[in-house]
Assembly symmetry: C3
Homo-oligomer: 263 residues x 3
């Protein structure tokens, strides 16, 4: 009988079926935009799952039509309404980002992302830390970094050029290129494209039944303690740069310009 | 007149034609399964060829329809019959594996693998240490690691994700995915697919006639002393993990389950 | 009104339109073959552009039908006529190469190469240090290293296998394989192939209008100070090996053999 444990989160769901844990971004009405509390919930769930010896594999996907529309910008509006300065907001966002990304870096069992729809910003950048990525044929991948006066996050400054090659990786990181599932597969960001997710979940469940220790040790061979340390330094470097960017006038200007253009 | 030297081995052949040395896995009736003595012969041949200044390039291929069906499991049966404990077998296998893989790592001239048919386990994992890989259109590549309660070997925990990208690399290392020649070419594990091996050997022979020192120095630029040291550490790390795995009850259980399923 | 600054060079042109700087190899009659003075001019222009805060992005292309036919071999003939020994020529060439490649390594803003036609030797090897590479459909890529008794340059011993995968990368570095634009795109050396360069320059100009600091910081995240130091060590290693090669009898012999075969 499959054990089906639900953990009490507001913005995500975490279920376990046998040795397979499934984390879902669970704000479908907001296209799974990630607000500060949701960042914390995801980090918490990853740390809990890392310690959950009854689970051998974590899959991450989105509820609804989106995988994740990325950072919930309304959070900044709330902070502003609370009278936070731009520096304070930058500091707060930095302190949310670092442990969130570290939780992905330090996850020491296989992690499979199932990108069920469009993915934006942090909804894309963390995929460079996944062990395998499935993408629905409708999935798109967009990281509007420099156009918003910002820069890479979630170790994507290292993982994306390494996985995709410099041209494809930098096109996304430096030049805000949006790609579709086919382009993501060709450049190796995605391992497999699907239309019906039935067989995908079946396969993932089969993987979760593989010898547990071998799965864990295999992950620890492909991401050693030295790799974890290196990636955590990359995370700190990127987050420090983002804090400077978020506190800068040219970032505020770029965001305004972007919103007006989209308006 | 081309010098054609044959070295006296039981399970491999080693021939030299001009500056081209060709090592063949030579147990076609056993689909070139590699037994302990054959591991040693291959390591010995690689070390001898490294010191053979009259040869500028080593090609490796299989005799018969297989490239190599990987580890000869009957060796374990023999050890058991000799009363070896699981720990002793694990220790022996570890001590065979380390110098075998080191011989590939330390080979300081261009090495070309010509995968003439199916390749399994160690017959696949060492390809990540080759400089160029040709594959016959019938070739397949399968590393049943975790399904047998084991884990990566021959530096594949580093080379496969680096060459193939994490998704394709981890699909093989963590999730035992079997791929064909086309998939191996798309994910860059293989450089060229062939149907007729005549032109392949012609081209390899031409390569062997290139300026000898330039070939050697080019290999030493792409795999420096620091790279060799790093890869040897990866080899030790993987072999230590495999020793633990081979000595573990869950590995024995996984092998039984696999054999019964195949039976 | 777009500022259009021309810098006084003999063998290259350097223009700036808004925040976009364009460096052109400018010896179309010589298929943009790079002579010693041109090496110095390119290095000088890169260093000047690095310090040019009014420019956020540098594009490099070739005037005429070629991107660059690589090293201008007539330079060696002149040095011979001046009575320089083979060792002296090797030393001089080494001292030209190191600062030239360092200028590419140390360039800390996005660099886009627009390969407008055939590229040979150093005209190819430096592409591994670009952030994005466009290639005209007629472009070809050929690095005759070992066939000329030489070895890799411009960090290509590290960048090409990393970008292209070992097989495709070593085929070029070790075995002098010439590839076309399609092959270069498949192996990720090139990001995009074009037939009409109008839209390409339009897109590059748009990129140059992105927030300047974000572009610069993004480049500095993907190529950190530690990366720069590592690549400069690779440059020194390759240049030292080339100096030995250029001073060696077997290199001179290989060049003669190559020229006679081409003659």
């Amino acid at each position: 009988m499959l054990k089906n444990i639900r953990r009490a989160y507001s913005y995500i769901s975490l279920e376990q079926t046998g040795a397979l844990s499934i984390l879902k971004f669970n704000r479908p009405k907001k296209y799974n935009a990630i607000n500060p509390d949701m960042y914390d919930e995801i980090g918490d769930a990853l740390r809990k799952e890392k310690a959950n010896d009854s689970s051998s594999l974590l899959a991450i996907t989105g509820e609804g039509s989106y995988y994740s529309s990325g950072n919930d910008l309304t959070a900044f509006a709330k902070w502003m309404a609370q009278g936070k300065s731009q520096e304070e907001m930058a500091e707060t966002a930095h302190d949310i980002m670092v442990p969130f990304v570290d939780a992905f870096i330090e996850f020491d069992k296989p992690m499979i992302s199932v990108v069920n729809g469009p993915a934006v910003g942090i909804g894309v950048s963390h995929l460079g830390l996944a062990d395998f990525v499935y993408a629905h044929e409708s999935a798109t991948f967009y990281m509007p970094f420099t156009i918003l006066g910002q820069s890479a996050e979630a170790c994507s400054s290292v993982t994306f050029p390494k996985i995709m090659g410099p041209s494809d990786g930098h096109a996304m990181i430096m030049f805000n290129k949006k790609i579709d599932a086919e382009e993501a597969k060709n450049s190796k960001l995605v391992g497999e494209i699907y239309s019906d997710d039935g067989p995908v979940w079946q396969k993932i469940e089969e993987y979760s039944k593989l010898p547990k220790k071998s799965l864990k040790y295999s992950k620890q061979l492909v991401r050693t303690a030295a790799d974890v340390e290196f990636l955590k330094q990359v995370n700190l470097r990127e987050a420090a740069r983002l804090r400077e960017r978020w506190a800068s006038p040219d970032c505020a200007e770029a965001i305004m310009k972007f919103l007006m253009r989209k308006g």
